[in-house]
């Protein structure tokens, strides 16, 4: 890896602060919605928001402590959260996976999976096309047999399955 690849993309400290702040925000949302529902003691016992109110409150308090600890943490002990090279690898999987999930809703899971696996093998693995086709299509056919035929668990299907009359 070159010099630039080992450079930190994010510092540990910034990641700590970001996650703690996100926790605080989520806690605040929970508290806010619980107050809307009523977080008190009614005639017939605790209201719907009673327990979530305190849960949200504890999330806020705990993340406030985490936030303060993160801000106060020493600069020189500040480790790298993720290096540029590592982040590239992670994104190389995360972005195609997100596109894959979006595809599932449109083409069904079998076609999307074949494309997804094929893309990986060709792009990261540099396999010859026939291997790519064999593994990616074979995988989808195997899953089709296991889920639709043996276990009778229907998975999302799209235009191709409709065309083949497999719905």
């Amino acid at each position: 890896m070159s010099e630039g690849e080992n450079r930190p993309a994010f510092r540990h400290k910034s990641a700590e602060i970001a996650v703690a702040a996100l926790f605080f925000l989520l806690g605040a949302v929970v508290v806010w919605d619980s107050v809307r529902l009523g977080a008190r003691w009614a005639e017939d016992g605790p209201q719907a928001g009673y327990v979530p109110f305190y849960i949200g409150l504890i999330v806020c308090l705990a993340s406030a402590v985490n936030l303060v600890l993160a801000v106060l943490s020493k600069r020189d002990g500040d480790k790298t959260f993720v290096q540029v090279g590592q982040l590239k690898l992670v994104l190389a999987v995360l972005i195609p996976s997100t596109i894959y999930v979006a595809l599932v809703g449109w083409t069904g899971i079998y076609v999307a999976s074949a494309l997804f696996i094929g893309f990986f093998m060709r792009w990261l693995g540099k396999y010859p096309w026939w291997k790519v086709a064999a593994v990616s299509i074979g995988n989808s056919v195997a899953f089709f047999l296991i889920f639709e035929i043996w276990f009778k668990v229907p998975l999302p299907k799209g235009p191709l399955e409709a065309l083949l009359g497999l719905n």
């Binding site: 540990h12 990641a15 700590e16 996650v19 703690a20 926790f23 989520l26 806690g27 949302v29 929970v30 619980s34 529902l37 003691w41 016992g45 605790p46 719907a48 928001g49 009673y50 327990v51 979530p52 849960i55 949200g56 504890i58 999330v59 705990a62 993340s63 402590v65 985490n66 600890l69 959260f81 993720v82 590592q86 690898l89 992670v90 999987v93 995360l94 996976s97 894959y100 999930v101 599932v104 899971i109 999976s113 997804f116 696996i117 893309f119 990986f120 093998m121 792009w123 990261l124 693995g125 396999y127 593994v135 995988n139 899953f143 889920f147 276990f151 009778k152 668990v153 998975l155 999302p156």
Partner: protein, 503 residues
């Protein structure tokens, strides 16, 4: 000896041809899951759970289904050791401590010895834990029959406070992560009043967050992303086990009987109190290093350094089922997923299970004995085949694992929304792992959130909002007191350190 008689009855159930076959299928699947990065006990069982829905509806089907799923769990426990020893990659968090001495042994060309020692001590640890379950769980269940809502809430409180007091992670991170789990559990319809909570008008959120999706995302996708940072290839030692190596290692193992017993005790304790397999394996490695005459050589490739964490991890993983069966409070994320399975199949985990579902409970316990024997045989004979799985290039195996995770999330409720949630949980799991926010309390809170809240509200109704109900008798008072003690343990430990430092 009622237990022995019930156990024999259980063996009759477990020894049917169908159940034995499922046991082997489960073990093999489990080892594969344990070896693969990104798939582990918890999310492996979670992905396969929907496949058991139809199986569970046939007569005796729930027993077969739990045998299949629990054997996947045993298999995953065995499988974690293979990657730790041969590749220095812990396939499961509880096998991290196994790498300390296991990998050096493999580098010295003694991989076979290390693997045999690991598998055998896993087996011993599990066996001791199953014996504990056999004799202790009926007692606990009988005791728990007397429990009312305040007692159950106190048990839940104890479970969650134990996480804060006993985890290695910073206490406020444990607290934040756990409470986020409770908040996620609260999303959807309020079980008591029917009011919609935290849905913000979204129909997808009406049924709330399913913990199976969270488990698949946090442990599956998150783990894949973490593994990726290390690069795309695995480099490992060759695995060869022949009968001579096995017999040689077995001759050596009895020397470490004290370490085994100590580790099994640590493991059983940490499994029943929800500390879990991971801290148990670290703790018993530490204990063994302190007490062993060869303690200073630990880390350079000592067989004893493999025996200690493996025995403890397996004992903890197995005994985590004891509170799950008797109280409905799982001791580990995988036990939580199994508990979710019971609920989906229409069984009510808890003390009544031992009265109303005798065949199920004792069939499961008998299958634990048989499953671990089957597991030992399978892993000892098939190690090279399993190790070969890791030689499949990452560019092939990673997308397949992601596809499996996506299918697993979809089948929970047949909804694409869950697949999106899996991705969100995956990114969260990656960040949480890197920043040492523990995942186990988060998952347990999602599973137990509704039940804990229900028992709290019932207790509050019964006492008219008086909090002293949690101290109203010796039993509930002891449980609550112990819970508070564990909750404030990090603070106490910190104060003691400060006092010592200033003195």
């Amino acid at each position: 000896m009622d237990e022995i008689q019930s156990l024999i009855q259980g063996f009759v159930v477990a020894l049917s041809f169908k159940n034995l076959a499922l046991m082997f299928v489960g073990i093999v699947l489990g080892v594969i899951i344990g070896v693969l990065p990104g798939l582990g006990g918890a999310n492996g069982v979670a992905i396969l759970l929907p496949l058991t829905f139809s199986m569970a509806q046939t007569p005796g089907g729930t027993t077969s289904a739990i045998i299949l799923l629990s054997c996947i769990y045993w298999g995953a426990l065995f499988g974690g050791a293979i990657t730790s020893i041969l590749f220095n990659i812990p396939g499961e968090p509880w096998s991290v401590a196994t790498t300390f001495d296991g990998y050096p042994l493999a580098q010295q060309g003694r991989a076979g010895n290390a693997l045999t020692a690991a598998f055998t001590s896993s087996f011993v640890g599990a066996l001791i834990a199953v014996i504990v379950i056999t004799f202790l769980s009926p007692v606990v269940a009988r005791f728990a029959l007397e429990f009312g809502p305040p007692e159950f809430f106190a048990v839940y409180l104890l479970t969650f406070c134990a996480f804060v007091g006993m985890s290695k992670e910073p206490p406020f991170k444990t607290l934040a992560s756990m409470m986020l789990g409770f908040a996620l559990a609260a999303v959807g319809t309020d079980p008591v009043t029917g009011a919609l909570r935290l849905t913000f008008g979204s129909t997808a959120l009406l049924s709330g967050f399913d913990f199976l999706v969270a488990v698949i995302g946090l442990f599956g996708i998150g783990e894949i992303l973490l593994t990726l940072e290390e690069g795309l290839a695995f480099k490992g030692a060759a695995a060869k086990i022949n009968l001579r190596v096995v017999l040689d290692t077995w001759k050596e193992l009895p020397r470490y009987w004290l370490t085994s017993l100590r580790s099994a005790a640590v493991g059983c304790f940490m499994g029943i109190v929800p500390g879990g397999a991971t801290p148990a394996s670290f703790m018993s490695y530490g204990v063994a290093r302190r007490f062993s005459p060869n303690g200073d050589k630990f880390g350079t490739g000592q067989v004893e350094g493999v025996v200690a964490p493996e025995t403890a991890a397996h004992a903890a993983g197995t005994s985590a089922l004891l509170p799950m069966l008797t109280l409905g409070v799982p001791g580990s994320p995988t036990a939580a997923v199994l508990l979710g399975g019971l609920l989906i199949w229409g069984l009510q985990p808890g003390p009544l299970l031992f009265v109303e579902q005798k065949d199920f409970v004792w069939g499961l316990i008998a299958s634990m004995y048989l499953g671990n024997i089957a597991g030992l045989i399978v892993v000892l004979t098939c190690v090279p085949a399993f190790a070969a799985i890791l030689r499949i290039p990452f560019s092939v195996i990673a997308p397949i694992i992601i596809v499996i995770c996506a299918i697993g999330s979809y089948t929970v409720h047949n909804s694409n929304f869950d697949v999106w949630m899996m991705m969100v949980f995956g990114v969260a799991g990656y960040a949480f792992k890197k920043l040492s926010y523990p995942l186990a309390p988060l998952v347990l809170a999602i599973v137990l959130g509704d039940r804990a809240e229900a028992s709290f509200r019932q207790a509050m109704l019964y006492s008219q909002g008086d909090m002293t109900v949690f101290f109203s008798n010796t039993l509930v008072g002891t449980l609550t007191g112990l819970a508070l003690f564990l909750l404030f343990w990090p603070l106490l430990a910190w104060l003691v350190r400060r006092l010592r430092a200033s003195a």
